[in-house]
C-alpha cells in the first residue's frame, strides 16, 4: 500500500529535514496567531465569513446568474464548464483563437485540479507558472506541497542547484535574494512575450461581475496587464454577493494564510482594458454534487488560506506530497474523497482529530467533524481491510462486556510483561511498528481507584 502513512514514513526518514519542515510551518502558524489577535473582532469576522458563504451556497444559482449577467454587461466573455475536460477545451480554444503560443499563469488550484498545464503542453503550447514557488516546482516537474507555499518542502540549496541547471545561475548560489532576482529576470521575459495570461480567482462579486485576485508577488497583474488576452478561472463556489463582503474576506485571508495584514496586491478586474479581451471561465467539476450532500457541502466554503495545513501536526510532520492529492492537509483530506473515494480512502485517517484545523479555519468549516464523517462513510462502504474490521468488532464486543474487559486487561498485563519483545512487536501489531507501547501498569485503573478512593463499592 502506497498511501499517506507509507509516504509519510519516507518523509520522516530524513529526521532533520522533517524537523525543519515542522518548525517552518509552525512559525507560519504563530505569525497567523499574532495577526489574528491584532484584530479585535476576529471571531466575529469568522462568523460573518462563514454566514456569507452559507448564504452564497444556499442561493448559488441566483448569484451565478447575477454574476454572469453583470460580467457580460461589463464586456467580459463568460464561459461555463461542467467538468475538467470542458474547462481545458474552453481555455485551449481561447488561446488558439488568439494564435498564442506562450501562456503565463498565476496561481490557481483549479487549473491544477483540471490538469490544464499538461493538456495545453500536449498540444504544443508553452505554459509558464509565474508564482516563484510554482515556477520552482514546475521546473522540478512536481506537484505543489502546500496550496499557499508550493515549494515549502525544498531547501534553498536545492533551488540554487535547480536554477543553476535551468536559469544558468552560478553553481552553489543559494541566497534567496539572488535566486529571486534571477527568477525575476527570467519571468519578466515571459510576461512580456506571452499571448495569454491565466489567473485563478480568490473572490467573484455577484453584484458587479468582477473577480478579485490576491498576490504578494504581483504576478497576476504582470501577466494580465501585459498580455492581450486575460482568462480568469473560477470554481462556482468563489462567489460573494456584494463588494462590501470583500471587506470580511480581505481582512481574514492574508492574516490567516501568512500572518500579513493583507496581500501586497488585491486586484479587482471588472472590465477588459481598451483593446483587450477578458474571459471568465466558471467551473463546476463535481462541486454541485458536493453541494447536494448535506454532510460535505460546507467544504465548499473554503477560501484556500492553507492555515489548516500549517497548524496540522500530521501535515507538518508528513509533508504535502505524502497526501497524494493536489490539496494536502486537513482540507485536502475532506475534499479528495469526494473526487475519488477509492484512491483517497486513507486521507480521512491522516489526522489525529485534534480539531486545530477547525479552530483556525476562517470560514468555520468543521474539518475535524468532516474527517470523522468520512471515516464513518468509508467504514460503511467497506473500505477497511477485513482484518481491521474484525479487530474493531472484537474490541467493540470486549468493551461492551465489563467482566470480559477486566479479564482481557489482566491477560494483557501479564502477556505484555512476560512475552519476548519480538513477539509483542510482531508484524501483527501494526500500532507498534512506529512507536513503543506504554509501560504496563501493575494493576488496572479500576483496582487502583477502588484502593485509593477509600471506598470499596466499585
Amino acid at each position: 500500500m502506497k498511501g499517506h502513512s507509507y509516504k509519510a514514513g519516507i518523509f520522516l526518514k530524513d529526521e532533520s529535514r522533517a524537523d525543519w519542515h515542522d518548525k517552518t510551518l509552525w512559525m507560519v502558524r504563530q505569525k497567523r496567531d499574532k495577526a489574528a489577535r491584532s484584530v479585535a473582532d476576529w471571531e466575529d469576522l469568522r462568523e460573518r465569513a462563514s454566514s456569507i458563504k452559507e448564504q452564497v451556497l444556499s442561493n448559488l444559482d441566483f448569484y451565478l446568474s447575477e454574476f454572469e449577467q453583470r460580467a457580460v454587461e461589463n464586456g467580459v466573455k463568460v464561459h461555463r464548464a461542467s467538468n475538467a475536460q470542458e474547462f481545458n477545451e474552453i481555455v485551449y480554444k481561447i488561446i488558439t483563437d488568439n494564435n498564442a503560443k506562450l501562456v503565463v499563469k498565476s496561481k490557481s488550484m483549479l487549473t491544477e485540479e483540471c490538469g490544464l498545464n499538461p493538456y495545453l503542453e500536449q498540444r504544443g503550447l508553452e505554459v509558464v507558472d509565474t508564482d516563484l514557488g510554482e515556477r520552482i516546482i514546475q521546473f522540478r516537474k512536481e506537484p505543489p506541497s502546500h496550496i499557499v507555499l508550493p515549494a515549502i518542502h525544498l531547501k534553498k540549496e536545492e533551488i540554487g542547484e535547480l536554477f543553476h541547471e535551468k536559469l544558468n545561475t552560478p553553481k552553489g548560489m543559494s541566497d534567496p535574494v539572488l535566486l529571486t532576482s534571477a527568477a525575476r529576470t527570467h519571468l519578466r521575459e515571459k510576461f512580456l512575450s506571452a499571448g495569454v495570461a491565466i489567473t485563478g480567482v480568490n473572490f467573484a462579486v455577484a453584484e458587479t461581475g468582477s473577480v478579485v485576485v490576491c498576490t504578494n508577488e504581483g504576478n497576476a497583474d504582470m501577466g494580465v496587464h501585459a498580455a492581450p488576452v486575460q482568462i480568469h478561472c473560477m470554481g462556482i463556489e468563489k462567489l460573494v454577493p456584494q463588494t462590501r463582503d470583500l471587506a470580511v474576506f480581505t481582512r481574514l485571508l492574508a492574516r490567516n494564510a501568512t500572518g500579513q495584514p493583507i496581500t501586497a496586491y488585491t486586484s479587482h478586474y471588472r472590465k477588459p482594458r481598451p483593446g483587450g479581451q477578458m474571459h471568465i471561465v466558471i467551473v463546476d467539476n463535481g462541486r454541485s454534487d458536493r453541494l447536494k450532500s448535506e454532510v460535505h457541502r460546507s467544504s465548499l466554503k473554503c477560501i484556500r488560506c492553507g492555515a489548516c495545513m500549517n497548524t496540522c501536526p500530521v501535515y507538518r510532520r508528513s509533508g504535502g506530497h505524502s497526501y497524494g492529492y493536489l490539496i494536502p492537509g486537513p482540507i485536502g483530506s475532506i475534499l479528495a474523497p469526494s473526487y475519488n473515494i477509492k484512491k483517497h480512502t486513507d486521507l480521512p485517517f491522516a489526522s489525529s482529530l485534534c480539531m486545530s484545523c477547525s479552530n483556525v479555519c476562517p470560514v468555520k468549516i468543521e474539518i475535524h467533524d468532516q474527517l470523522y464523517k468520512w471515516r464513518q462513510e468509508l467504514s460503511e462502504k467497506g473500505a477497511f481491510s477485513p482484518v481491521k474490521g474484525l479487530v474493531l468488532k472484537i474490541a467493540g464486543f470486549i468493551l461492551s462486556k465489563s467482566a470480559l474487559y477486566d479479564f482481557s486487561g489482566k491477560v494483557a498485563r501479564v502477556a505484555l510483561k512476560g512475552l519476548p519483545r519480538r513477539m509483542v512487536y510482531s508484524k501483527i501489531n501494526v500500532w507498534g511498528w512506529e512507536r513503543e507501547l506504554p509501560a504496563v501498569p501493575q494493576e488496572s485503573f479500576k483496582k487502583w481507584y477502588s484502593k485509593n478512593s477509600g471506598k470499596n463499592n466499585l
Binding site: L132, K156, L179, T180, I262, A264, K271, R273, G276
Partner: protein
C-alpha cells in the same frame, strides 16, 4: 455613512504609517502636496509623473511593453489609504496603463493624509465603480524560498509613500 465621514481622522495617520513600515514600504510625511513634489524632484529627478496630458497619452494602453519595461521610478497618486494594513487604493483613473504600478522598478505613491480610512470595511465603502482597481500594500514580495522575505518578486522592488 457617507464617504466624507469615513475619510479623515488625524489619529489614523500614525497607524497607517506603522502599517506601511510593517509591509515593507518607505514613508515620508510632508506639509502640502507642493513640498512632496519638490521632495520627489530633488531626490528622484528621473521619476516619471503622469500628471501632464502628453505623458499620460505616451504611456497609455498603446505604449509598447518594451518601453514600459525600461521604466525606473514612477509617481502615482492614490485615492485613499487603509490604516489597518497600509493598503492604498488605485484605479483606472490613477494611471494611463494598468501595467504601470507593476512593471516600474520603484513606485512612489502620493497620498492626501486626510484620505485614510480605518479598515477594509470602510475602505470598500469608498471604492468606486471602475474597470480595474487595486489595493497596493507595500512593494512586490515573495517568501517562496525557505520563507525568506525578498522584495521585488516581479513588481516594484520598493514602494515609497509620500503623505501630504
Amino acid at each position: 455613512m457617507s464617504r466624507d465621514n469615513l475619510l479623515t481622522a488625524k489619529d489614523l495617520i500614525p497607524e497607517f504609517i506603522e502599517s506601511l513600515a510593517h509591509v515593507g514600504a518607505e514613508v515620508i510625511k510632508l506639509n502640502g502636496k507642493d513640498s512632496v513634489l519638490a521632495y520627489i524632484s530633488e531626490n528622484y529627478p528621473e521619476c516619471i509623473t503622469f500628471e501632464n496630458k502628453e505623458i499620460w497619452e505616451e504611456y497609455s494602453f498603446s505604449c509598447s511593453k518594451e518601453k514600459l519595461e525600461k521604466l525606473g521610478t514612477i509617481q502615482l497618486e492614490g485615492k485613499f489609504g487603509v490604516a489597518e494594513n497600509g493598503a492604498i487604493w488605485l484605479d483606472d483613473n490613477c494611471f494611463p496603463n494598468r501595467l504601470l504600478p507593476f512593471i516600474a522598478q520603484k513606485v512612489i505613491i502620493l497620498l492626501d493624509s486626510g484620505k485614510i480610512v480605518k479598515d477594509m470595511g470602510d475602505a470598500y465603502d469608498c471604492v468606486n465603480d471602475c474597470g480595474y482597481g487595486v489595493f497596493i500594500s507595500g512593494p512586490s514580495k515573495t517568501a517562496d524560498i525557505e520563507q525568506s522575505l525578498v522584495f521585488g518578486a516581479h513588481g516594484p522592488k520598493s514602494l515609497l509613500v509620500t503623505l501630504f
